[in-house]
Amino acid sequence: MAKTGVPLPSRNRLWRVLDKEELEIIDTAAYKVLKDVGVFIDDNELLKMAEEMGCSVNYETKIVTDIPEHVVREQVRKAPRSFLLAGRDPEWDVEVEGPARRQYWAPESGATDVLVWDEKGKKYYRRRASSKDTLYAAKIVDGIDDFDVNVYIYDAAEEGHQGLPSELNKMNAMLQGTTKWAGHLCTTVSTIEEYDYVEKLAAEVAGGEEELRKRPLFWTVYNYIGTLQLNRFNSWLFRASVKYHWPIMPAVTAAAPLMGPAMAAGNAAISHAGLLFMIALKQFHDPGVAAVPNNIVFSLDPMTGRGGAHVPHFMLGTCAMNQLWHELYGLPTAQYGGTFAASLDQQAFNLARYMALQIISGTDFIFEQCGGEAFDPALIPICAEIARMGRTLMSTFHQIYPTPENLALDVTKEVGAKGEKWMTHKYNLDRLKMFPSGFCLDTDAFDTWLGKGARSWVYDLCREKLKELEKHEPKPLPKDVVERMNAIVKEGNEKLRVR
């Protein structure tokens, strides 16, 4: 039996931002957006696929409108509520059994650079990330049980810069670096044929293409570019996902207030529209394959134009959209918790406050997105600490239910007013596991902390913890499988190299 995911309390205990009627209003608004505003798609093949679904397509402007509501509703219904995302090791399988049943955690970044801390010089420098860094981070995440799945931290940016197929190299590193479900396959600028190689690669790990279909090792991720634009790279990936029946996680980021409506409701409607369209299109052309919506009701800082100002807009919008997908469509959701700050401490702060709302609103897949372009691996223990907090909260939620057992009035009477025997009473001893230690929190008394040099949690303790985490090695793939995988990557690198 898989050990992934933290069971959530029943949905009525989760934080609900809107009532049902309000959710339906946003849902209806999204269909209006699909009808009257539409989606821009920079790919003729995908435009044809939209036309086949019954949309109006203007091939000159590349805008798809009149996306029919009844068709979308009918298609989205085909997206499965229960599905499997497979780990290399079945113990790490993700067995989704409906929305808001279990919560899954992973850190996520997609950074193109590694941020390296020079301990001697006491400063940072950055260097371009390669698939070796993808592998390095994957191994660390693989060894942390607080993470259920493994999503890439580092992009194979170096390979990309050399004109090599970066996603192929990245997925090779991920599949070798973890026994957990290997996360996101993303867009490439190479060529659509790159995905043929990724399929071959993953099939080696799964034990064949049929087996890969039953036990998908990753899903494909699309990002609309503000407001509702799909560039051709997203289109290639979508077409590949249909060809190979890969699950999808579409994401929409109309970024308020500079590239989307300033109010969370309007932005949520746009985000919802984009996801409805993609999920419907996927189900129309590839019915019954898992689709997990990721509403990023995003905001940019109007003072700078950059992301990362975690205003209520973002937090409210994403939580409301969790609710909408759970309650109106019965689908699980994914969320990124973005933080674009540079310093570790500010990122930790942003992540913690944002994740708190994701936890209590029942996001199914929580991706702690951080690092921006350059990721300091000390963020991994920071993310693990936050994941532990979330896991503990949800897994011990039941302790607040006022059952006779939880109230323990008979024990209270027995122990009496002075309360001295609580510490060693069997009732409490049996429940001590509900008070777990943090992942790497500093629990020293003040004087001790001062005496040890008043160390910073993020900069000192998390970095120390990282050294320990780096020692983990995942269960390796069989040698012959690795050889075949590397051969596939080698061939892909040779045949698909651009310029």
């Binding site: 950055r126 371009r128 940016a157 560039n231 970024a255 700078t304 134009g305």
Partner: protein, 226 residues
């Protein structure tokens, strides 16, 4: 007349500061009918206004949308005034820039911000749009006799187009003809700038503006020495 002129110039500046298009056009008409020199109306009226807006934005006192609106008002008013200025008497822009987002990338928020801020600062900016192949940057730069070519990329997997543009400029013997600047939300930093063969980079519009001004000034000095 002088007091009236000063009053009109202040109205032009205030209209830009308050991003009030109607007030700006009314002040333009007043300037024309009051026989205020249109070049002076631009430089001492509109430009004074946009400078104040730009300074406030640089200090973090006003948000981006206000800067964009002010720049739009300025551009409209300036274009109206320029109708009354013979070609050979028009104020020289600080520099001429060709700006775009590289091939494969359809992000344009950053380039729109740069266009607004640079235009407001006195540059002539030709924004060629998104998803632009290397060739289009060079073609436009040649056409308008640009000083600067600016290439933006916001996606990590389109960054290499910035390097291709640098290589293309070098290959055609045009590298020294243009100042080449790079930037964008995913910009990896100084080392990448060097790899692209660019003169400089920025991920913040105000820093980009300062760098552009300095690069242009240095170029003028070098030309003057020759």
């Amino acid at each position: 007349m002088s007091a009236n002129k000063e009053s009109i110039l202040k109205k032009l500046a205030d209209a830009v500061i308050n991003f009030d298009e109607a007030a700006a056009m009314a002040a333009v008409n007043e300037a024309i009918s009051g026989q205020v020199d249109p070049v002076e109306a631009i430089t001492r009226g509109l430009t004074a206004g946009i400078k104040e807006v730009g300074d406030k934005f640089g200090r973090g006192e006003i948000p981006l949308p206000f800067l964009m609106l002010a720049a739009q008002v300025m551009e409209k008013a300036m274009n109206e005034l320029l109708k009354y200025v013979p070609e050979d008497k028009r104020p020289e822009p600080l520099g001429v820039m060709v700006l775009g987002t590289v091939e494969g990338d359809i992000h344009n928020l950053g380039t729109n911000i740069v266009t607004a801020v640079f235009t407001a600062a006195g540059f002539k900016v030709y924004n060629i749009g998104v998803d632009q192949p290397v060739e289009n940057f060079i073609k436009k730069a040649e056409e308008v006799n640009a000083d600067i070519i600016g290439a933006s990329a916001l996606m990590s997997n389109t960054l290499q187009q910035q390097k291709f543009l640098g290589e293309a400029l070098k290959k055609r013997g045009l590298r020294d003809k243009y100042i080449y600047m790079v930037g964008g939300g995913a910009f990896p930093g100084e080392e990448w700038c060097r790899e692209c063969g660019a003169d400089d980079y920025a991920t913040d519009v105000m820093i980009a503006l300062e760098k552009a001004k300095n690069l242009i000034a240095e170029r003028k000095k070098r030309k003057a020495k020759k």
